[in-house]
Chain length 255, copies 6
């Protein structure tokens, strides 16, 4: 498939253009020529030397990641940027990135992946960012004890032997759940106002502890990397459907 | 001592005015009348309902914290803000805050506290933020094996049974160490450029993993709360010297 | 009635949200907890130590004012802010504020109150501010001599023995009248362009004299306080309808 | 004298360039050719049709005013701007403007004129605006009863039979006095912090009443026009010294 | 015809208001009184001393130009601005300006004039600027050899003996043509993306050479002045229709 | 020589850091690894596909240009950026850029090169841009007739058979000359105010014609490319001195 065609298909599905004003990430094709025949595609959470080299080793024509290289523009192709871009160029691997569009997508996205794990129903958009949302919200068919939620998440998410951290200030059983993967505690207030029992996210921040405590909200911290593997794997499944060779590069950060 | 006198002493020692343009926190007196007799002072890392109530319970006239309530202005004294400010006002407890000035202070500060733990010498300012710095840098008298650094930090910092996390990408022995407490991985590049072997900070962020890996820098993540108890305890020691009654409120967040 | 219910009723009637981007005032609930039983409500033009103390003395659970305490955020709860907020908190008096929404409201508002005094008909919005308006415009059933307008305003508005000031540069009889209460001479050009014979406002500014003179527009300066007592009294009438005890605190500034 | 020479002399004396970043007014020559022989100069507080026509009638080559025509740029030379600029151009009258530099000047300025009236001593700059000041502060040789201050101001300032307004919240006798002419109540806090007994200014604003009341500061409101005739008359005295014909155009606004 | 009526007719036809946010030029009436009887109108590309004096010499009541005097506000009516505005005022010549609205107009505009020269069909808007466009695009009925296009443009546009410059990197025959008159090479990328064979504009910029070369686009540089005489002549034709005396002032710059 | 050493030498000589806030160009190393052995260096005015490929063909390890690839950040390494960066990376050619620092340098710079051509003496900085300057000014030992200046420039600068364009509005003989290479007509006013007889620059802009005409200033337009070959050739001479192999890539744009 021509690279331009593949980029166009992903951009359409993910509504890339709609996030242009709210996302610092330059979503869509970040590195590559206008046209190139693509047969093999690699998928990873982060674009970094480790994942770029793995993609090249596996003979990929394209690497698709959630976190890319251009956040508000690349000032210089030097230092770390050179070390990441050079192996892309030298090995003819293009780079396609989808950050917030992939967090947010109600079927393909990272938050949707967490919601699927817990079997949440009555899904709706959550996590306002300008005119868009970056997460999902839903209800468990039956209220689930906090520990069971933690165990479910640990079973699916943990990579480094570190358990899922719980700020256990909400009700004993969790029914109404908000999800913003990655670094999502900035939406803690929205979770409280919307009546959620719990917020599931990746990384914590110091201020979240007291905010959750005072609001009586339970917060699950599953890890930034660990909560954001769902989206790129959904894009991999699409590429499989389209008849491309695909490979997933697992490079967990433990963060 | 009159509150105004105490505020003035702290502001002078901490150079509060010099940080006015670089710190979102409204440092100095955040809540309280112009004048009040202060006999007893409580100290805590965070200003939150839990610590405000503890200060009131212990009969403090003033609470001194590192993290305060006003970050760029309080839009409304409602919700969480009301719940934190009301017990201050009702119990006649004033609130004094020092954020970046207290991170940065070369003797009293949080980074200085970490540097003291490791016995670092040849100290200098580290962690540029506009015309100021927010951390410290120094050399160990002898190179220390990475594990020994971790053990030392764990012995002094850990509160919740969670070990200090290490991104172990630097040399086997650590000699040149940069410290920015709290959330300091944004200064990872400055650490690399300055030739440091390791950066010690509190919270991590997802992007730090690959940045440290590619730069060959070791990063110690000691916890945001755990790395920031030093500064307020230094201010407590000052208040002790000045003949005030003091008390420390330990309310760890585990984050 | 629960405070949240009362706040919600006022916000709906006044379209508080629609003015969020054009008004520096944080309209709506400015000080208070999320929930509180409200039986008695006090009303005043300004939120200041004088009116807050009067509200507390009269046993109010809530004070409703036109001018509040938060204009772009409260940097610190110290000095004047402490002296105003502390008696609210200590006496369990919440504060609800409506600035431009209350100037503008076509039935409840301040400009509408002036228009009612003069019996203006064919009312329409006047005083553009972004997508909203902050005043009213209408026609007298019969042209009124300038002196009669002044006398009518003085009879109703004056509080300190200072007459209504007139910049008498328009026609002898006034028919088409624009009203922006408070500090409204910035809309003098709009009044001229719209074909008004006169602009009624509260405070003057030096530059208004020559602008009115050159444009042939009559300007009535009725006093900032005096032209802005109508709105809060309309809100008082609503509270009366809703079965609450109410009281009006008259604290004229003479400005 | 050549116009360029006269402009250069005034700009030097008034430090026009130093106020470029803090004053919206385009100070210095606002209307006129690079060179013109100037024999006769008119002086007025405001540049408006009334004063421009008077200057032309009196045969002036230059009009010097405190309030000019360009406040952040003239978008179009139409409407009011045309009506003011056209008679300047048609009658070969140039326009020189000095706004804040003339408020502030320690000898020639408007605030200095008020301070002279009251015989204030130990003068210093007052009224911070960025790196500059816009007023003066000084001490009366002996404390003066508030009424005597009012009477002195009324005797010298009043033009329209309207007395000087007093917000009489300070001590009975006034000794330490801050002055910012025109619209100066925004410096009320600075007056309080500096320990002044009273602030003298021109126009009031609604919020000043409660601020003065709560701070225990007396505020005298002498009128915007009436407090700002001193500066242009000082410039007239300079022009007299330089051998030019001069005339003062008194066009009080009563505001 | 009254000036206000004429201004209103032009503003309506040119959609002046719609360009208010995207054009630095203050379009519409730039210099003149609200009302004036207009019998004779002069037209020119630039408002400058040369054209203003010519308009006055020919007894015009109004000068209509494409480039005016106010680009973001006139700071002072001195120097060059005085030399241009004074003869307008002294000779009772008003100034009407239409910059981007006149570049863009699909029938009256500058780009439309070029498109007419080449007989382009299937016209559509080209040259995005915020929500508006500033050029035109169309197809030649038959592909035209590049040299023929150049000859056609030279025959109609050249004024100073300087030929039309061609960056000849596109196909041998030109069919799909984008036009942005004046300084239009910033739309080179849009021309490439839209599939145009050539971009016709006025002035070049250094960076355009390599951009055109790499994109395989032919660029014709016909001169800024020479490509922008069409619009004002269209406005002249309208004035003729409305029964006014008109005159065209040709003052080519050769740029 | 190591790339880092060469970059450091150029940055020091050109004072690269001092221009960081005034130049949109990311001056210094724009593409390349931290370290690389450099033996051969190519020099060109523009970084574009044509010059990058020529540098690769000639076996250069580094290309040094005046115009680079990053003007405020590279949003994506795609399209034109990919076509320029990919051959750099694939052929191991680094890119060093110096824009305004190289225009401005009093000995090495582009403006200095023009000044040398005319033998100007008493050189000083010209062309204010924030705290820096981007050009030079000097006096001819004897006044030179305008035509002789033109002929001298044409003899040295012209590449495409297009003569140097002259806006001949100044004195017959030129003595005091200001130079800003490239696109420098924005400094026409500074040239007039400084008393220059002529401004020499590269590209013209439409508005310069009337500004020069009204000010009585002669403007020479020598071409953007043609006036900017001096600086990179000075850097080539330095590299020669340092013992590196060098080559100059002449790729004139005719603009």
């Amino acid at each position: 498939m021509d690279l331009a065609e593949l980029v166009s298909r992903y951009d359409d599905r993910l509504r890339t253009d709609d996030f242009a004003d709210v996302d610092a990430s330059a979503n869509g094709l970040q590195v590559g020529p206008d046209h190139r025949e693509v047969e093999s595609v690699a998928f990873a959470v982060d674009a970094a030397e480790q994942t770029v080299e793995a993609a090249a080793d596996r003979g990929a024509d394209l690497l698709v990641t959630h976190h890319g290289l251009s956040w508000g523009g690349i000032e210089r192709v030097t230092g770390r940027q050179y070390d990441r871009i050079a192996p892309l160029v030298e090995n003819d691997v293009a780079l396609y990135v989808s950050h917030l569009p992939l967090d947010a997508h109600p079927q393909l996205g990272n938050a949707a992946g967490i919601a699927d794990l817990l079997g949440l129903e009555d899904r709706e958009s959550f996590g306002e960012l300008g005119p868009e949302h970056v997460g999902q919200r839903g209800r468990a068919p039956d209220p689930i004890p906090t520990d069971r939620v933690r165990e479910t998440l640990e079973a699916e998410l943990d990579h480094f032997g570190q358990g899922v951290r719980v700020l256990d200030f909400g009700p004993e059983r969790i029914e109404d759940v908000a999800v913003v993967t990655g670094s999502g505690v900035d939406w803690l207030d929205e979770a409280v106002e919307s009546g959620a029992d719990a917020l599931i996210t990746g990384e914590g921040k110091q201020k979240a502890y007291h905010e959750a405590r005072e609001a009586g909200l339970t917060v699950f911290l599953g890890g930034h990397y660990a909560t954001e593997t769902f989206g790129v794997q959904s894009l991999q499944a699409l590429a499989d459907e389209w008849g491309l060779e695909t490979t997933y590069i697992d490079a967990p950060t433990g963060l």
